[in-house]
């Protein structure tokens, strides 16, 4: 991906130079082979630090809220899946189209450093993405891992290599990392559980929550000016509760709130320090919306309103629709 990185630097320099952009949203090279930080670049000199490779999973779309609000024209490098977030933010009127210059940036699938560590890599000194496999140099010696085994979860159900919004594209599109897995397979597995089993599963997941709010803060659909859970006047501004069940309520309320706007980018699951499967909670809503109202992908474009926000004659009662679907699947 070396070449894409160079194209990005040139593109960023040109956009800053000709005034198309006041700033550029991209990634800054890290300490290690895998810890590139999200970054805002304002000058050509800083661009030396701009980097891009298989360790740039973060979706930069959310930063457009702050640049738009500041009236800055921002050029933003977007992987195909990130473009859904930009469309959704446009649809939610959180960003200004005239202040966004979207540059489609090819992606061949991002790697998960947690999976690399879990595969036994300790004291990581270098990582080389060789296409079919990943060569990791550790303090104790080299380790080679199949690339498919260390792909980020969100890349296993890749939405494809098309940009849903782009003012221009750089580099050649890359192939989807592997045949996309069924996005809802894991949601269906949870639906198939008994109510007790499902409750135990979610209790097990959500009881690990430390209320760091990273899931919310990274989410392009969580774009409120001020979150009710941070608002001292809201009566719901818990930092942590004496009663642990309220932690679970935070996640359930958030899932309701982003339903129909969650693009399924998977960032909530990626950033959770405790590895809580928040993506499954949101996935359940996405699946139910599809079931009730027909296929709908938030962020596919910037115009089509979400099914819950429109009334069409013949819309089913959601409760009935989901139950009918359950019956078809042979559940109680």
């Amino acid at each position: 991906m070396q070449k894409i990185e160079e194209l990005m630097r040139e593109k960023a320099a040109a956009l800053l130079q000709d005034g198309t952009a006041d700033c550029v949203l991209a990634w800054r090279r890290g300490e290690f082979p895998y810890d590139h930080a999200t970054a805002v670049f304002h000058t050509g000199e800083e661009l030396e630090e701009l980097t891009y490779d298989c360790f740039c999973p973060a979706n930069l779309a959310k930063y457009l809220i702050q640049t738009s609000r500041a009236g800055q024209k921002a050029a933003v490098f977007l992987k195909p899946c990130d473009t859904y977030g930009v469309n959704q933010l446009l649809k939610d009127h959180r960003i200004r189209r005239d202040l966004v210059h979207a540059v489609g940036t090819p992606c061949g699938g991002m790697l998960d450093i947690r999976k690399i560590r879990a595969a036994g890599c300790r004291g990581i000194v270098a990582i080389e993405d060789r296409g079919g496999d990943v060569a990791v140099t550790c303090a104790g010696g080299p380790v080679t891992l199949p690339r498919a085994a260390v792909l980020l979860r969100k890349c296993l159900a890749c939405k494809g290599n098309d940009y849903k919004i782009a003012d221009e594209e750089i580099g050649a599109k890359q192939a989807v990392p592997q045949a996309p897995a069924d996005r809802f397979a894991e949601v269906e597995a949870i639906e198939a559980m008994t109510p007790e089993g499902r409750f135990a599963f979610w209790q097990q997941e959500l009881s690990r929550c430390i209320r760091c709010n990273a899931c919310r803060d990274v989410c392009p659909a969580c774009s409120c000016e001020q979150c009710i859970f941070d608002h001292p006047g809201s009566g719901a501004d818990g930092k942590a509760y004496a009663d642990a069940s309220q932690e679970a309520l935070f996640h359930v309320i958030r899932a309701f709130h982003v339903a129909g706007r969650c693009t399924g980018c998977g960032e909530c699951g990626r950033v959770c320090p405790e590895g809580i499967r928040l993506d499954l909670l949101n996935g359940k809503f996405a699946k139910d919306i599809n079931t009730c109202f027909g296929p709908y992908q938030p962020g596919e474009d910037a115009e089509t309103p979400a099914p819950q926000f429109t009334f069409r004659p013949g819309d089913p009662d959601p409760d009935t629709a989901v139950r009918n679907e359950d019956r078809r699947d042979g559940h109680a």
Binding site: G30, E31, F32, D35, H36, A37, T38, A39, V40, E46, A58, Y63, Q66, I113, R117, A118, R122, G123, I124, V125, A139, G140, Q204, I210, R211, C212, N213, A214, R216, D217, V218, Q226, D230, H231, P232, D237, G238, K239, A240, Y241, A242, D243, E267, R270, V271, P273, E274, G275
Partner: protein, 353 residues
């Protein structure tokens, strides 16, 4: 020194659990974290934990007071001080220093009674590191990961757990275990432990942060550091979440909140808080740190400048590297320190020219 076959680790934990509540690293769902003995998961002496064990002294939520409205009267009931012995097992050198940093905060006058009660009843069993990760930089703070420095130090090497009771508390605990743990004598300086320490030193030199130095002069540079352009460069992409704070062994801010538990009942408790949070430090006019930059700056100024200023040069960082792994956007104290130290060095150079 004594030793125990690692196959008997369960016996040891069971015996410890008869002496007090045991807090130890357990692995479940592919992640390792400190948990109370008896919870699900396997004890894990290899992997580093996601969170620091600071909650054994400073729980995320701690009840302080209950009050009940009885007619025109308010009945107050202070939460009882925590009681009973607690044993933290498998604590690394970095986290033991983390406890020492917390001590500086909570045990200084006025002492925090709840913390003091927990501290007094805690016995710490340290664990020597064998395989530090690339994110580790405890040596930057003069720590030796092979020598935890707890009440009892242990090392998992060559299929055995080596056991060295160092303090009165540690010796008392060892005596109390008596014959219930099949310890064998291991001599003064077991070769397996020495070999592990030597291997660790070799390995350390290969890791990317092996020569990392935190600049002590930052503490004397409060204003230049505060006004540094570094913040404008790094802060804009901070998400403002509390992940770094909550996995950190030294972050110690808390909020005090009231929660209605019934029509006439309220519980007052304290809970972890973070300067990254928008509703941190609510003053009559709101949070004095209005934006992301101010909040981001506060966390690092506290760790690198204010805390050393107030505590004889001790950084509020122990090099555990957890925030390096946990930050969703890969900002962290190493990047901030490097940028800040470099920038201040440049300024100093310009000044002398």
């Amino acid at each position: 020194m004594r030793k125990l076959n690692l196959a008997d680790l369960d016996k040891l934990l069971g015996a410890l659990a008869r002496e007090g509540r045991v807090y130890a690293p357990f692995r479940r769902n592919g992640r390792t974290d400190f948990a109370w003995y008896g919870a699900a998961g396997e004890p894990d002496l290899e992997n580093y934990t996601v969170k620091a064990p600071k909650d054994v002294l400073f729980p995320q939520v701690e009840p302080l007071l209950e009050f009940r409205q009885e007619g025109r009267r308010l009945a107050l009931q202070a939460a009882p001080l925590p009681q009973g012995k607690v044993i933290a097992f498998g604590v690394r050198a970095c986290d033991i220093r983390g406890f020492a940093v917390l001590d500086k905060v909570f045990l200084q006058d006025p002492q925090d009674e709840y913390y003091k009660a927990r501290r007094d009843s805690l016995t710490v069993i340290g664990l020597g590191c064998s395989e530090p990760e690339e994110t580790c930089f405890c040596r930057t703070f003069g720590l030796d990961p092979a020598r935890p420095g707890a009440d009892v130090d242990t090392w998992a090497a060559d299929g055995c757990l080596y056991w060295d009771a160092r303090t009165e508390k540690g010796k008392a605990l060892t005596d109390a275990l008596g014959g219930s743990v099949p310890f064998a004598d291991a001599g003064e300086e077991p070769a397996a432990v020495a070999r592990q320490a030597a291997a660790l030193r070799d390995r350390w030199d290969k890791l990317p942060l092996h020569g990392l130095h935190f600049d002590e002069r930052l503490a004397a540079q409060e204003l230049p550091a505060f006004h540094s352009p570094v913040w404008e460069k790094l802060a804009p992409t901070c998400l403002g979440c509390c992940t770094c704070t909550y996995v950190c062994p030294t972050c110690h801010c808390f909020d005090v909140r009231d929660e209605k538990t019934g029509p006439f009942d309220t519980e007052r408790y304290r809970c972890w808080d973070s300067c990254m949070d928008r509703d941190f430090t609510q003053m009559p006019h709101g949070n004095p740190r209005k934006g992301r930059l101010e909040r981001f700056r506060q966390r690092y100024m506290h760790k690198l400048v204010y805390f050393p200023e107030d505590h004889e040069g001790t950084f509020a960082c122990v090099g555990c590297g957890r925030c390096l792994k946990a930050c969703p956007v890969n900002l962290n104290i190493v990047k901030v320190e490097r940028a800040l130290a470099a920038e201040l060095a440049d300024t100093a150079k310009e000044g002398s020219e």
